[in-house]
């Protein structure tokens, strides 16, 4: 390394520099999936449940960040998209008994369409109207589900887990492997958006939308792409949830905790990069798992709220911002 001068770029690298972090994400994800599949059969069920909820929040936080962090449009309705994914699985499970991957694709399509629709109606207005509309969308959807007896209405519904194939030791084992793969895909998608013209355009919109539009950034199109991707990923995160809990009611699927967590995790981690939401999700997710076991689940949600407010006031750029400031402080 030291022999190299700045004038001679290295030519013999396997991966071009601008794709390096993407390759690293894919590699880490593949290794984790393979390791879980091969060696994960003996792990206790509790660790799987904890890992599942952290992985789910990596997907939700990353999905939220594509529109919220890169584009600056705050989505309060994560729970609505998540629940749309849940109830897609429930309906398909009752009607046809399809493989989970088909459920997830359908959930992605439906939640993506919801993201597109909400975005199409409100993304032309000021950002705050989009935020309120997403909240509205979640509550309208919840009311529809409560009044829809086919999916159990307000009482909720039990879901029977399908038979598992020989590769996996238990259904929890399968779900965790699947969620690692999904989280890897979500982070890769966020990374691809961030590094491409979409991410650069979104950043321009976030900093000054009028200036961006004057410089020919197709702002509505970019925001719609981000809203659709973000919604689709949230729906995919919700699709396996009914099999994970095996009983779903509207209060769980539309829980405010989902919305708060998926906003808190990117903001605590840092919204400008793909790894901010991952750091935030691992940090807050682990803290919550520990607190749920040691204190109570109401107290742990309270602490998430307090951490969110503390980070927003004291470190508005999140953990990423703190790390960068610390690096800049050193020679």
């Amino acid at each position: 390394m030291s022999a190299q001068t700045a004038y001679e770029p290295r030519k013999s690298t396997l991966v071009p520099a601008r794709l390096r972090s993407g390759a690293a994400i894919a590699l880490v994800g593949t290794i984790l999936v393979a390791a879980t599949m091969l060696f994960g059969s003996g792990v206790s069920e509790y660790y799987y449940l904890a890992a599942y909820s952290i992985l789910q929040f990596i997907v939700l936080g990353t999905a939220w960040n594509i529109l919220g962090g890169y584009g600056g449009y705050v989505n309060f309705g994560t729970a609505g998209f998540f629940a749309a994914g849940c109830y897609t699985t429930i309906v398909l499970n009752k009607l046809f008994q399809l493989p989970l991957l088909v459920d997830m694709s359908a959930a992605a399509a439906i939640a993506g369409l919801m993201g597109f629709g909400t975005g199409y109606l409100t993304l032309r207005l000021r950002g705050v109207f989009f935020s309120i509309a997403t909240l509205a969308m979640a509550i309208v959807l919840q009311t529809v589900v409560i009044n829809w007896s086919f999916v159990g209405g307000g009482r909720g519904v039990y879901v029977v887990r399908p038979e598992i194939s020989g590769l996996f030791a238990s259904y929890a084992h399968l779900l965790v492997t699947l969620m690692i793969a999904l989280a890897t895909c979500a982070v890769l998608a966020a990374w691809a958006v961030e590094k491409s013209w979409i991410g650069i355009g979104l950043a321009a919109i976030r900093d000054n939308e009028t200036a961006a539009e004057t410089s020919a950034v197709p702002s509505l199109r970019l925001k719609l792409i981000a809203a659709t991707m973000s919604g689709a990923l949230m729906g995919m995160a919700g699709a396996p949830f009914p099999y994970y809990v095996s009983y779903v009611d509207p209060a769980t699927a539309f829980s405010l905790a989902i919305a708060v967590n998926s906003i808190a995790m990117p903001l605590v981690g840092g919204t400008a990069t793909w790894w901010g939401p991952v750091v935030g999700a691992i940090l807050l997710g682990s803290v919550q798992q520990i607190l749920t076991v040691t204190i109570s689940s109401a107290a742990n949600l309270f602490i998430v709220g307090v951490l969110l407010v503390v980070f927003l006031t004291a470190a508005p750029r999140g953990v990423v911002g703190v790390v960068r400031a610390w690096k800049r402080g050193r020679p």
Binding site: F129, I132, A133, A136, I263
Partner: protein, 291 residues
């Protein structure tokens, strides 16, 4: 769905009376969001704090809800001013209000709700007063006093706020801030101070609205969420910064909700306000009284 004329007339009257209370709940959002450009989605949570203060006052000292209003509304005024100072220091000053500021209010909403659950539990709490219970009837129509009292207080509060905004110097400064902050600076008035006072008034109105809410019905911590949709729907439908618009939109929402409850069942009523909001945003984002 069984239709009859006196059911319809009763639903409309009840809706109008309910609308008066909704106006009290929404006027704070009209001030904060419409005039000051502060998206305080924690406003309904402040309202629930007011309801619990009335419960505490009644439970510990035997306060009538009106005594609670006189005691706690000034507290809301001071708290709101301090709260705005902090918000301005951390977010507005840095220009962070659109992303971090919005998330901040969401966090505050969440902290208040979970905090109330941790202190009071999830049981419903209520107060007792002479006007909670009796009803009065004129012909086919019957209205209960526990609805009528909030209606009258709500109307009085809107009238007071409208007078304050249009007649006093500070009130006019607040209206000027809602139009052009820089112009206010140019003529030598302090927009931050005007915003601080306006936010204090809005918070006090939330406390009063919460006390009115506990007169109408028993409350529990998560009930505030329903009012996010209602208050923002009213504010947007009324043209965001207009006090008369807020009143008209509140009456429309009140009637729409009672009609839905009467003819389709109460489980659909949360969707009414949000549906109305989505339709307004999609087709007439300026609202009925918008410029």
């Amino acid at each position: 769905m069984n239709f009859s004329w006196d059911l319809l007339v009763n639903a409309i009257i009840t809706g109008v009376v309910l609308g008066g209370f909704y106006a009290a709940a929404a006027i704070g959002i009209t001030i904060e969001f419409g005039m000051l450009d502060i998206v305080n989605i924690a406003h309904p949570a402040f309202m629930i704090v007011g309801a619990y203060l009335a419960y505490l006052g009644w439970n510990s000292f035997g306060f009538d809800p009106f005594v609670s209003m006189a005691v706690f509304a000034p507290f809301g005024l001071f708290f709101g001013r301090a709260f705005y100072r902090a918000y301005h220091f951390f977010f507005e000053r840095r220009g962070d209000e659109s992303l971090q500021g919005l998330a901040f209010f969401f966090g505050i909403l969440f902290i208040i709700e979970i905090g109330l659950v941790l202190i009071f539990g999830v049981d419903y709490r209520s107060v007792a007063a002479p006007y909670i219970g009796p009803t009065f009837g004129i012909g086919l129509i019957s209205v209960s006093w526990r609805m009528m009292v909030p209606f009258l207080v709500g109307l009085g509060m809107l009238a007071g706020i409208q007078l304050y905004l249009s007649r006093t110097f500070t009130g006019r400064t607040i209206l000027a801030v809602s139009q052009d902050v820089e112009a206010v600076r140019l003529v030598g008035a302090d927009p931050i101070r005007a915003k601080e006072i306006a936010f204090g008034i809005a918070t006090a109105s939330a406390i009063v609205a919460g006390i009115l809410l506990i007169i109408i019905q028993p409350v529990e911590p998560s009930i505030g969420r329903e009012y996010i949709g209602r208050t923002f729907a009213i504010c947007v439908l009324g043209g965001t910064a207009s006090v008369p618009g807020t009143l008209v939109a509140s009456l429309i929402l009140g009637v729409a909700e009672t009609l839905t409850t009467t003819f389709f069942g109460p489980s659909w009523s949360p969707a009414v306000s949000f549906g109305l909001l989505l339709v307004t945003l999609a087709f007439r984002p300026a609202g009925i009284f918008g410029r």
